[in-house]
Each structure stands twice: as structure tokens, then as C-alpha cells.
Amino acid sequence: MNKRLTVSALTLSLGLLSAVGLAQTGSLKKNLKIAFLPKIINIPYFTTTDNGGLAAIKEFGGVGKAVGPSDGGASSQVSYINTLIAQRQDAIVLAANDANALVPSLKRAMAQGIKVVTFDSDVAPDGRNIFINQAKSDGIAKGQIELMSKLMGGKGEFAILSATPNATNQNAWIAIMQDELKKPAYKDMKLVKIAYGNDEDQKSFTEMQGLLQAYPNLKGVISPTTVGVAAAARYLSTSPKKGKVMLTGLGTPNQMRSFVKDGTVTAFQLWNPGDLGYLAAYAAGSLASGMITGKEGETFTAGKLGKYTVGKNGEVVLGPPTTFDKSNIDKFNF
């Protein structure tokens, strides 16, 4: 009697278990162990990415942590990867210090069933399942032109203050920007000059000075480099053209905060590192739950950010850059 009761109770609970199991297909597994391994720990940028990731892991009921070296050497990251393998993490989410040096250890991790997601800086594709790309050239260039147009009222002369003349990413962006300007919406905007500040503070500062003198009708400057935009803002903040020439570009909130507050700069852009970590965590969770494998065309949902599709070579693109202005800049610290 007693025995039969136990047996039926057992059957019942088994039935319940399988029902629960069925209900859970299509959602992320609970208690996944996911570790973030930034290039360097305890610097504002990576603290922001890691906190974004840890928040996401908490949302789907996983166990997250961030560990990492205090120097930028590849070898220090290798020993962390080895430790994470020994700890039997379900997934490793890392920003690689070296595209090749980490691959053998990452392959070993994947051979033991650990899912690998890279963000910020990728490794060779055979060393990871998915790479979260912070921004495609396309998104950045179009976003910058759109913002510039809004700031200068869609009309007038503007210039670009770039990094070095042979920087691959800068040139790719500038080419797309020039293409974008052919659209009817931007027909009244005229790109008068591309200057190069070589990603040096002093040079960018004097180039900005030169631009303002050479083009008295200049209404805007785009500087799609964090060094350039900060140096240009510093010049502009003390110049009589402050508030008349619209400056924007790619910058970090910590560099640009004072210039936004004193009205030198209205708005600038960059990808949101918190979202980058958040998306990487969801990608890792989806991989570790067996919902995706990193093949082109697969889709997964990343919490508040919505649905993402895996592109060529296992790449997932975060999306258009975030615009920072007076209203939101104090929410960011990097």
C-alpha cells in the first residue's frame, strides 16, 4: 500500500517534471554558469560591458561573474580561460587581447562543450561560436550623417575631422558618408573638407582651429574618433564659434560630459557598451541552452533589446549607435 503510494507519487512527479520540461523548451536554461573575461578588468569601459552582461545573466536566472587580467597581455587571458575551463563554466564571453594567441585554449574550451562568445574584439572565427560586433560601418556612418543633418538643420557647409589618412575603419565610414550625402534628404549639405588629426590630441586641436579659420561659413564638424572629437570640443569651447558650429562625432560620455553641459556639443554617438555586454550574455545563454549554434540565419531573443539574427561568420551586430545628449549622458560612466 505504502509502496504503491510512493510509486504513484513518483509517477506523478515525473509527469509534472516532464510537463515542466516541455513548457521550458524555447526558453533559456536556468542556472547557466557564464563568465565575462574583458581585455582588462576594472577599467570603466569594460566595467560597463560586464555589468550589462551580468544584468542579463541575472534576468535569465544564470550565475554570472566577471574575471580578468589587470594587464593587456594575451598570455594572462589564456590562464584565465584555462581556469574557466577547469571551473566547468557553461559559456565564456570575452573581449580578446590577441586574435590568435587565445584560439588554442578557446578550441579546448569548445571541445569540452563550453560555448564561446566574443565581443568588442574578435578572435579567428574557429576560436568562438559567435562574435558580437558593436557596430557595422554602415550603421555608424549613416547614424553620424543623420545626426549632423539634424544638428545643422539639414543645410550648409560641414567638414570631417578624421584620425589618420590610412585608418581602415575611418576611410570606410567616410566613403559611406559620402554616398549617403547623395540622398535627396541631404542635398543642401556640403562636405567641404576632410582633415586629419592623426588621433593625436594636439594635432586634432590645431586641425579644428584651422577648419574654423579656413571656412568661415562652416556650420558643422563630424569627428568620428574619440580623440578627435574631444580635442575639437576643447578648442570649440573657448572659441567665439561655440554654439554656432555644430560639433558631433564618436566620443565617450566621460570625455564629452563637460562639453555637453557647457553647450559646446549638443549630441554625439557611440555604441552603448552596456547593451553590448547585455547582448553578448543573451547570445551565450542561447548557445548554452542549445537554442542556437552560431550558424548564419539563426535567431534569438535578447531580453529588452529584442530579436537578433546571426549573420555571416557567426557575427551578430548590436545595431545603430546610441546618441548621447544632455538628457541621458549622466546615466553613463565610461
Binding site: V67, Q87, R88, P104
Partner: protein
Amino acid sequence: MKRRGLLGWELSVIVLVFVALFGGALLSPDFLTASNLSFLTANFSEVALMSLTMTLIILVAEIDLSVASILGLCSAVLGALFAAGWPMPLAILAAFGVGGLAGLFNGLLVTRLGLPSLAVTIGTLALYRGLAYVVLGDKAIADFPAFYTNLGFGSIPGTQIPIPMALFAVLAVITAIVLHGTAFGRSLYAIGANEIAARFAGLQVTRVKLSLFVLSGLMSALAGTVYTFRFASARADNASGFELSVIAAVLLGGVSIFGGKGSVVGTVAAVFLIGIINGALTIVDVSNEILTIVTGLLLIFSVLLPNLLARVRSARERRARGRAVS
């Protein structure tokens, strides 16, 4: 009497190795697994290799602080030559040539000019690292043939013993035989204990020291080759700061910083002790900064403790003698 005390030190280090293993197992269930121990030992293979020649150098009361910089320089040379299209065996040979020359330069400055090795090798620590940056800049050379990276990364077939560690085991045995079983080895103790007496006894002190510095350079070249293949990456900043761990291991192993005392067994045990402590702390997510602090403390502890012990002993002897007189 002294010899006995030394063996006691080495025995203590060996006991501590087992205590550390046990402690690691208590800290984390993932610690005492074959794969973790394999990672853990591979992790300190370069430090282990360089600690062998460092033992010999400290035994003759000299020091070589440039070992990690020579490693970086050899790694950079190896990478640059491979990238320039040299066949791998030739590039490795060239790296050994550079390592040997770097050691020879240290040795000549110390022996011919009579400069203190501490000052000379602090200088070459900066010099060789600088040269590594001249050779490679901030580039990283990768894409080495899989055959070579497997040598650095792989294990002896059928076991979990990393290949670099097997290499270390062989070299440790050879070093032990040379040091403890040959006239050359005994001459190192004589030089370290009293250089002037050793000279008067007809030992070729200058030649011995010079050869030790060259040997140290060659060992750094070997460690550089291992490092390059283990990480599949030749960079100028490879193994920055490793000299600290090497010297910590040798001193913790009971080799006297003043020369003349020590053994290969002690060094090997201390290499494992430091490696295991670091491994156990990393697996429970102790941060990198704390690990550096631990290595530093071990270094101070291993210099301080023998000193304190010697003082206590001599104080006790004095008291005993005082009692015998009265």
C-alpha cells in the same frame, strides 16, 4: 650540520607542496582534476625552465634579472624571422643565437669589467626588452605551423603531461646531475661560498661565471621558444615580469641569495609550490593583483626566514657557549 639544515628546508617546501594541493582541493572541487593540473603545470613551464639556470647563477652569488627580457627578445626575433619567410628550424636556431649572445654580453660586463650583476642585468632587463620592441614593435606574429604550436600547447600522447613540462623534467634531472655530481657543479658551491678562496684554489671563476650567463641566455631562448608556441603568438611584451617569479622560486627553494647554498630539488619543489598556490587562488577567482602580492610576499618570506633561523641558531649557540664557559 649546515647541510642537514638545508635538507630540512627543502623537505619543508616539499611538504608545503602537498599542503597546497590539499588546500586547493578543499577550496574547489575542480582543482584536483587531471585537466586542471595539466593547465596549471603548463602555466609555469617557462618560469620552471629559467629557474634551473637561475639556481646556478645565484649559487655563485650573482643574479640575472634580464631573463624575462631575453625571453621576450628571442620570441620577437623568432616571430620576425618566421614572418620574413625563414624556415622554422632556422628561426629557432637564430633565437637561440640571440639568447646566447645576450647572455654573453651580460657575462662579459660582469666578469671582464667586474661590474655587479645586479646593476648590469637591471640595465639589460630594460635594454633587451627595448630591443624586442625595436624588432617587432607592437605587432603580434601568429599563424605558426600547427606542428610547432602543438609542441607548445599539447601533452605527451596518452597522458595529461604538458610537453614543455616533460622538457623541464629532463633538463631538471640533467641540471641536478651536473650540479651535484660533477666537479664543475661542486666548483659552483666553492665560488659561491668564498670566491677569493676559490680563485686561490685554482678554479677558473671568470670562465665559470661567463659560461653560466651564456647558459642562462640560452635557457631564456628555450623558454622564449616554448612561450611563443604555447601561446601561438610572438610579441615583444611576452613574459614581462616573469623574472620576479623565477627569482622567487629559486630563493623559496632554499638557494641562498648570498651564494654557496642550495639545490635543484629545492628549486623544483618551490616552482611547483608557487605554481600550485597561484593555480588554487585563480580557480577560486582571486584577482590578479592579489596573486602578485602573494608572489612578492613569498619572495620576502623566503629571504627573511633563513636569515631569522640563522640568527636564532647563532644566538642559541652563543648562549650554550656562555653556559659552557661559566
